[in-house]
Symmetry: C2
Subunit: 351 residues, 2 copies
DNA sequence: TTGAAAGCGCTAACAA
DNA sequence: TTGTTAGCGCTTTCAA
């Protein structure tokens, strides 16, 4: 295809713009312009250069490109905690957004170690990323990233920062709790007990508030003693059922703080001969498929839409990179996924 | 600290080597040498430059560094499938290795889409990574990465390639099955049934072979009809128990292809009034904590050591990058994690 | 319509 | 012991 009837020979290392220029018998800048669609070139030239470049499998070095002023089109992703079960969907969501913009992601796992986090930040800064997303468990609020005086957009996804001014996106746990409560009320349940995680966790408090709010709207109260706090485990679900059946035999609904607890609750109820949902309806939280779908009956549960949360986090970071103002805590609505543990079948969203 | 009593002023953008040179009143190369510990410099000069650089918070641009010939110290990580439950520990292991060498990771999630994978590869090549690790589910062997004619080390971690010559590291499923079998035999069980996943999956076949081998060594046979293949679900575990109790009431041990099946099996047995482990011992596979530990009784199960697998995959890639020869399928030994579903208590490894 | 040249931030060979 | 200079691969004025 190249002039003179000779096929251009691929050099050993990566093909450079020089190689293309030589093969196409034009100058460097012509190649650059042709390939980037910039400047004023004859169509023929542009086509010819493009053909040669393709034939040579020319892949412009992003390294060199970003050196000469262009945007880096690369961001850093720091998992402050270990990559957990919740991080995964968030991470995938983020990547969906960034892939669409051809932005590369440096993945860093600080694994909860501040020193490791420091090193990663250093490396990200040295690599001149355009921005950083921080993910992690949000049980305990974290310090804002220490950027060593550098100015760089940072967005916190599913990660709580002590200072509420930092741009961050979290699930609307309150709304989630409310969804669960409304669902139960709508199905006519009126003796609701809440079995949830550690009392000091913010999400635990929010979910309870949401439930309380929904019940209140239906003229029902949620007395403090009917909120049982414990660990996020199946075992706690079992234990809670013992207490509930002993203390409040008229209970007709249990809203659980997560799916593991719900699984424990359902299993325990079955073991006691209590029918779910006929006698007691159960709602979980997380929509952790592998648990929720395998429970018998399958769990109706609240979904935090973590994939979507990741997508939006990515978009927000892009906004910040483009100079947009993004601040404060934002909450993403949850959805209710209806399976069989409440008897109902319609699906609800709340936006 | 700088000369003339003036504090050097940080420029607005990232600090460059020029800024440091100016502030320290020396030349570019002196700064470079001082900071890299190369060349011959007076100790005083070196120290002085270092101090100034630190004060200015100078962070040499990795971009510029890698342009001028140095190694990129960056690798690509492609998740061919969605980041799954198994990818996580592998990923963390890989990062452990690479962090220790200060190598950055570009994360790409091809999500099973060949076109997306192509784009990611393109991007990785354009970013001149030193090598690539491919992770993903290994249920179905994948095609080797198409590097578009470029030469670059690629290592497959927990990902099966059609051509067995490609360097890849997989769990030793056969050994894992053997561990389970030996454990059961050692505990005196002699009527073993195997409830496992889809028959066509390689891991399913290997695990069965391992079990068979272990039983054979103790003079026991594993007739084909006692290998029940199905899906990887709890539901299948329940169903299998029905069949087993009906067909072979003398069964005293069940080895399950994964922990979900095992969970289903144990739950079903309990529901039928069969005691675990007193009447029937159960062994799982995966050591998926959240399931294995929550099962009642907690599951004795085989651990694939995925974190370690990731670590070693990282090391192997580094070897390849350094020009070492790495080829063919390698297998990482599994371990047996003893909990309570078999009655035994000692822990076993097999190296 | 094309090409020459400067520059991005750094390293490294060579001079001084 | 330090500084000058020439790249690394590309983009982007500015000249031709």
């Amino acid at each position: 295809m190249a002039m003179l009837g000779r096929r251009p020979v691929r050099p050993s290392g990566p093909v450079t713009i020089h190689d293309v220029a030589k093969a196409a018998q034009v100058s460097l800048s012509t190649v650059s312009k042709a390939l980037n669609g910039t400047g004023q070139l004859r169509e023929e030239t542009r086509d010819m250069v493009r053909r040669v470049a393709e034939e040579l499998r020319f892949r412009p070095s992003e390294i060199a490109r970003s050196l000469s002023g262009r945007q880096r089109r690369t961001i850093g992703l720091i998992s402050s905690d270990h990559h957990g079960r919740f991080s995964l969907p968030v991470l995938e969501g983020i990547q969906d957004t960034l892939d669409a913009e051809s932005i590369s992601v440096f993945l860093c796992n600080a694994a909860g170690d501040p020193e490791r986090e420091r090193q990663h930040i250093h490396s990200l800064l040295a690599n001149r990323v355009d921005g950083i997303i921080v993910t992690g468990t949000r049980a305990t609020p974290r310090h804002p990233l220490n950027l060593e005086g550098e100015h760089l957009p940072v967005f916190y996804a599913f990660s709580r920062v002590v200072d509420p001014d930092y741009p961050c996106l979290l699930p609307d746990d309150r709304g989630g709790g409310q969804l669960a409560g409304e669902h139960l009320c709508r199905l006519g349940r009126s003796h609701v007990v809440h079995v949830t995680g550690p009392a000091h966790v913010e999400a635990v408090q929010h979910r309870r508030q949401g439930l309380e709010h929904a019940l209140a709207e239906h003229g029902l109260a949620l007395p403090p003693e009917r909120v049982l706090t414990g660990s996020w485990s199946e075992a706690w679900g079992h234990e809670a059922v013992d207490r509930i059946l002993a203390a409040w035999p008229s209970t007709d609904a249990i809203f659980c703080g997560n799916d593991q607890i719900a699984r424990g609750v359902v299993d325990a109820l079955r073991a006691r001969g209590v029918r779910v949902p006929a006698d007691i309806a159960v709602v979980g939280f997380d929509n952790w498929e592998i648990i929720a779908a395998a429970t018998r009956p399958p769990l109706t549960t609240v979904d935090m839409n973590l994939h979507e949360l990741g997508r939006q986090a990515g978009l927000q970071l892009l906004t910040m990179i483009d100079g947009g103002e993004v601040r404060g805590v934002q909450r993403l609505p949850c959805s209710l996924v209806v399976r069989e543990s409440c008897g109902g079948q319609m699906s609800q969203n709340r936006g």
